[in-house]
């Protein structure tokens, strides 16, 4: 047809995918959002193509849904909310444009995965800041555009981190570079004078990167981004701190962040740790029974000029903190060792993701709260498990201190049998009704996927009004991922 011809002119016919299987794969995900089939999938290879696609979409009033990560998807944000949409697949944009060791920054295209980035950075003496064991196909840019928490709160100064500058094609088709990348000069000219696109704020008096973060592709399409990296440690120590009392671990986490110790810092329950280190569902089940109820993970990098001394002093400090909390730093707990955990945390998950091992389904509820409130939410989650009748033993809990300990990401994950309708329904209710209950308790759904959008936006009309003003500026024809968030 005529419109598709125009697209083919932009990206080449080979990059237009219409096969039923492909369209079906994009019509739903592990979330419970309604299945809607896209009209076609278009694979973009560079900024020019992206810009041309977006302009085409404006001319034809075609909804676009950008995707950068490979499957599986879990939150419904990449599933069209309306019919006739075109999926813009950026997975092929895999260039690592530049790695700047001195300024600890990498410039990457949206198709670059953690699997790809880690070895590239390693060669330069850097390591990425990562979410908790990202799946191998996870786009680095998407992870950070969506404010996915990283495991290293010390490097997480605020919600935008570690995303810095981006190049974006707005919904209206205009191109812009944000932060200090905005200008003057081309990117190459900026490099020439020593600039490194490392200031993510601005340009000038608006934080344009921030307007794109958490937007689920509703404002535009990012074609590259700079991301903050950390020095590759020469040595590394991981410690496990087990406890049956979550409160003690929370106390320890506060103290660790107050002393600015270590790099990785997170708390998981036994089921989640089992899911991370176990291979099969059976193994996960066995491990889960063995592992302590709660485990705090503390990783200390031996980087910089005095790697041994750094680890030594920080270990001593951490031991003292643990002791003062009635806890102990351990190299191993029943079921796993710190070394094993370190190895798993250092690489992306080799499969579809640690939560979906062995063909299980998984439903997540996550939000932002503070560490001191986690126990309340955990109690409530266990209560809901009883109410909705899903197995408590399959409830994973992940507490990720963020913003250097000022707040935290709290994530409940329920593993369920995909073909068990009762379990599936229970999980669906947990996600939808549970979300409402948590919100009423003070949970902040900063990333309101699927049903949480109504929960989050229903509470502050001015936010909706403000965001719609932005949407009207950057995507006046509403072509970008319509139906998401409050749009």
């Amino acid at each position: 047809m005529f419109e598709q011809d125009a697209l083919a002119t932009i990206v080449g016919a080979d990059n237009l995918l219409e096969h039923e299987d492909i369209l079906r794969a994009h019509s739903g995900d592990f979330s419970f959002v309604p299945r809607v089939s896209p009209r076609l999938v278009v694979k973009a290879r560079n900024t020019e193509e992206v810009q041309a696609i977006v302009r085409w979409a404006n001319e034809t009033r075609t909804p676009l849904v950008p995707i950068s990560s490979g499957p599986p998807h879990s939150y419904g944000d990449t599933v069209p909310s309306v019919g006739g949409a075109v999926i813009v697949d950026l997975n092929g944009m895999k260039r690592i444009i530049r790695i700047d060791r001195r300024n600890r920054v990498a410039m990457i295209e949206p198709g670059v995965t953690f699997t790809q980035l880690i070895p590239a950075l390693e060669k330069e003496g850097l390591a990425p800041l990562t979410p908790l064991v990202p799946r191998s196909s996870k786009s680095v840019v998407t992870a950070f555009l969506e404010r996915t928490p990283i495991t290293t709160p010390r490097f997480h100064w605020e919600s935008q981190d570690p995303l810095l500058c981006v190049e974006v094609v707005y919904g209206c088709g205009d191109l812009m570079r944000t932060g200090s990348a905005a200008g003057p000069g081309s990117i190459e000219e900026q490099w020439e004078v020593g600039r490194a696109q490392i200031r993510g704020m601005g340009p000038s008096q608006v934080d344009f990167t921030r307007l794109l973060q958490g937007a689920q592709g509703t404002m535009g399409i990012v074609t590259w981004a700079t991301v903050r990296c950390r020095p590759l440690p020469k040595l590394k120590r991981m410690f496990l701190v087990p406890s049956d009392d979550l409160g003690l671990l929370i106390d320890m986490a506060y103290r660790i962040t107050h002393k600015k110790l270590g790099e990785e810092l997170l708390i998981v329950n036994g089921f989640n740790l089992a899911s991370i280190v176990g291979e099969t569902r059976e193994e996960i089940g066995m491990l889960s029974a063995k592992l302590p109820l709660w485990i705090l993970l503390l990783g200390i990098d031996g980087a910089g000029l005095l790697p041994e001394e750094k680890i030594a002093y920080q270990e001593e400090e951490a031991i003292e903190i643990a002791q003062s909390c009635g806890l102990e730093l351990k190299a191993a707990v029943p079921g796993t060792s710190a070394e094993e955990v370190l190895a798993v945390l250092s690489q992306p998950s080799a499969d579809a993701g640690w939560k979906l091992k062995g063909g299980a389904g998984c439903g997540d509820v996550f939000f932002i709260t503070t560490l001191d409130r986690c126990a309340e939410f955990v109690d409530a989650a266990y209560g809901l498990a009883g109410r909705y009748r899903f197995p408590v033993r399959n409830l994973g809990v992940y507490i990720q201190p963020m913003v250097q300990g000022t707040n935290c990401h709290l994530e409940f994950s329920v593993s369920y049998e995909l073909h068990d309708q009762q379990e599936t329904d229970a999980v669906k209710r947990f996600i939808e009704e549970g979300g409402e209950i948590f919100a009423n308790m003070g949970a902040f759904f900063s990333r309101p996927y699927g049903p949480w959008a109504r929960i989050a936006y229903g509470r502050e009309a001015q936010t909706v009004i403000g965001q719609r003003k932005l949407k009207n500026i950057f995507d006046p024809n509403g072509v970008m991922n319509p139906g998401k968030l409050c749009f």
């Binding site: 934080d207 307007l211 902040f444």
Partner: protein, 524 residues
């Protein structure tokens, strides 16, 4: 623009007659601020329409709504220290926020504070020290408003290595939008408290401020939550000595150093290593002239010290930095000191041996920003920043080098600005990486020739920084009056300014929030 009797009565009804005035003698104290003379050729900018002092968010909202209704342009300020706080090319309504001065909350556990506009850095620091915490400190010094540096204005300061840029500490805001609606940013709006300023979804925090604040051009912030950082010192600092140069007892597990680096490259390496090692509480690049003003009680004393130093020595380039290390324990301090010594070795840095008194002054300056006002203003009466840069460390030292060669030297040789060692720079580095530098020109506001030369220098800075490809002066925007720096950067800035203007139009349809230091709604 004028203020009708009806509009004035409306303001009176909102705040009460005691808190609004149109008396010209009072209004004149709201159109006088440093650097006005560079913009207007005299100390006074156009006299405001009136001045109003609200006490509550409801009053602020009512004032803003009245302004929209009566077609009055308004702008709020906290302490009114900055040019961008109260200067405009047309009469407008300054909203003096000094009555909103409450520390609403300090969450010791989750390390944040909620403050109203007139809470100063010094006050919040005093409050938070008691519970082992501290806020970000702006270079503007202890009297600066916490809210301004977090939400409304630029925000670099000596502690940025450990607290990062001011605007990056914003966790929430109660925000009276330009049209008078109230938006509660982030988690606050959803009832989850002051814990996170981003979301749900795309962050309106990006509209609230960018790298530079909106300087009043995007409504009024009546409360903000700002992130706090660990403070390992005592609950109270111990001053010593007498004015004007009170000293300070340096607490246990703090060490302050004045480091001299042998050259530009070594200085760059020094900053990079300090960023990567994360051992410092504060780092400042400081031209010796600024340091000397900071450490002396008067210009007379300074001149007595300086006048016998041979001119070639006074004019010799010096790359110096002030570094403060802190630690929560002796063990940590031992590690940090060792690490610092290694950095010195690797960069051939030497520590200048100041006495205890000067060390105390430098400590106080590093912790609170106190003394920068002295350093910048005392010698000649005023100063200006241009060019200003914010990016990678190496790029910024190129910026200061070029500024010296192509802008500052000529001005200095003219005798119309303060003579300093080359590269009169104050700079900081950020905990997250990168740096910020300000080329400081000290001029005499009472001297027309000095003002004229400084205005030329400012204009040159706006143009040159773009020519060098090292930034746009407007990025700070404290002195980009009526978009002067943005216009100087055309077409480099056109692309992004267009979007800011669209946002301005969308959020301020009546153009009620004065934009002298933001952007006007009109496209170029």
């Amino acid at each position: 623009m004028s203020l009708s009797k009806e509009a004035y009565r409306a303001l009176e009804d909102i705040v009460g007659p005691e808190y609004v005035t149109q008396e010209p003698e009072i209004l004149d104290t709201y159109c006088f601020v440093w650097a006005n003379e560079l913009i207007f050729g005299e100390k006074f900018s156009p006299r405001p329409l009136a001045v109003v002092l609200p006490e509550t968010v409801e009053e602020v909202q009512a004032i803003v709504r009245a302004c929209n209704r009566f077609g009055i342009r308004y702008r709020a300020h906290a302490t009114g220290f900055e040019t961008s706080a109260i200067t405009s090319s047309e009469p407008f309504l300054p909203i003096d926020m000094r009555r909103m001065n409450r520390v609403v909350e300090i969450d010791r556990t989750n390390r944040f504070a909620v403050v109203e506009p007139y809470v100063s850095q010094a006050r919040l620091f005093l409050e938070t020290m008691k519970v082992g915490l501290r806020p970000n400190m702006l270079g503007a010094g202890p009297s600066a408003s916490v809210l301004a540096g977090t939400a409304a204005h630029f925000g670099s300061g000596p502690t940025n290595i450990s607290t990062d840029f001011g605007g990056r500490n914003l966790l929430g805001a109660e925000w009276v939008l330009p049209n008078g609606d109230i938006l509660r940013l982030g988690s606050l709006g959803t009832g989850a408290g002051w814990i996170n300023g981003d979301g749900p979804g795309p962050s309106l925090r990006g509209v609230l401020r960018g790298y530079g604040g909106a300087n009043g051009g995007m409504g009024i912030f009546t409360k903000v939550a700002t992130k706090l950082y660990p403070w390992y010192g005592p609950p109270k600092l111990q001053p010593k000595g007498v004015p004007p140069t009170y000293g300070m007892v340096i607490p246990e597990n703090f060490s302050v150093y004045c480091v001299i680096l042998p050259g530009r490259d070594k200085m760059n390496d020094f900053f990079h290593l300090l960023i990567e090692e994360s051992i410092a509480f504060s780092i400042q690049r400081l031209n010796p002239a600024l340091g000397a003003i900071l450490a002396t009680e008067s210009n007379d004393e300074l001149w007595e010290l300086m006048k016998n130093i041979p001119e070639e020595q006074r004019r010799a380039p010096v790359f110096s930095a002030i570094v403060l290390l802190d630690a929560s324990s002796a063990r940590e301090m031992e590690y940090k000191e060792k690490c610092f010594q290694m950095i010195l070795e690797q960069t051939d840095g030497t520590v200048f041996p100041f006495d205890d008194h000067i060390q105390g002054l430098l400590f106080n300056n590093s912790v609170t920003g106190q003394g920068m006002t002295r350093a910048a203003f005392r010698s000649t009466g005023s100063f200006i920043i241009s060019p200003v840069g914010d990016e990678a460390v190496d790029a910024l030292t190129t910026l200061t080098e070029l500024s010296e060669k192509e802008i500052v030297k000529e001005a200095r040789d003219s005798g119309q600005i303060m003579e300093t060692a080359p590269e009169p720079v104050w700079g900081v580095v950020y905990g997250d990486g990168g740096a910020h530098v300000e080329v400081i020109t000290m001029y005499d506001p009472a001297d027309r020739a000095s003002c004229k030369k400084t205005s030329e220098l400012l204009e040159k800075g706006d143009k040159k920084i773009v020519e060098w490809g090292l930034g746009i002066n407007s990025l700070e925007n404290a002195l980009s009056f009526n978009e002067s720096a943005l216009k100087a950067a055309l077409p480099q800035s056109r692309d992004f300014v267009k979007w800011i203007k669209k946002i301005k139009r969308a959020f301020d349809p009546n153009n009620a929030a004065d934009s002298a230091f933001y952007v006007s709604p009109e496209d170029y």
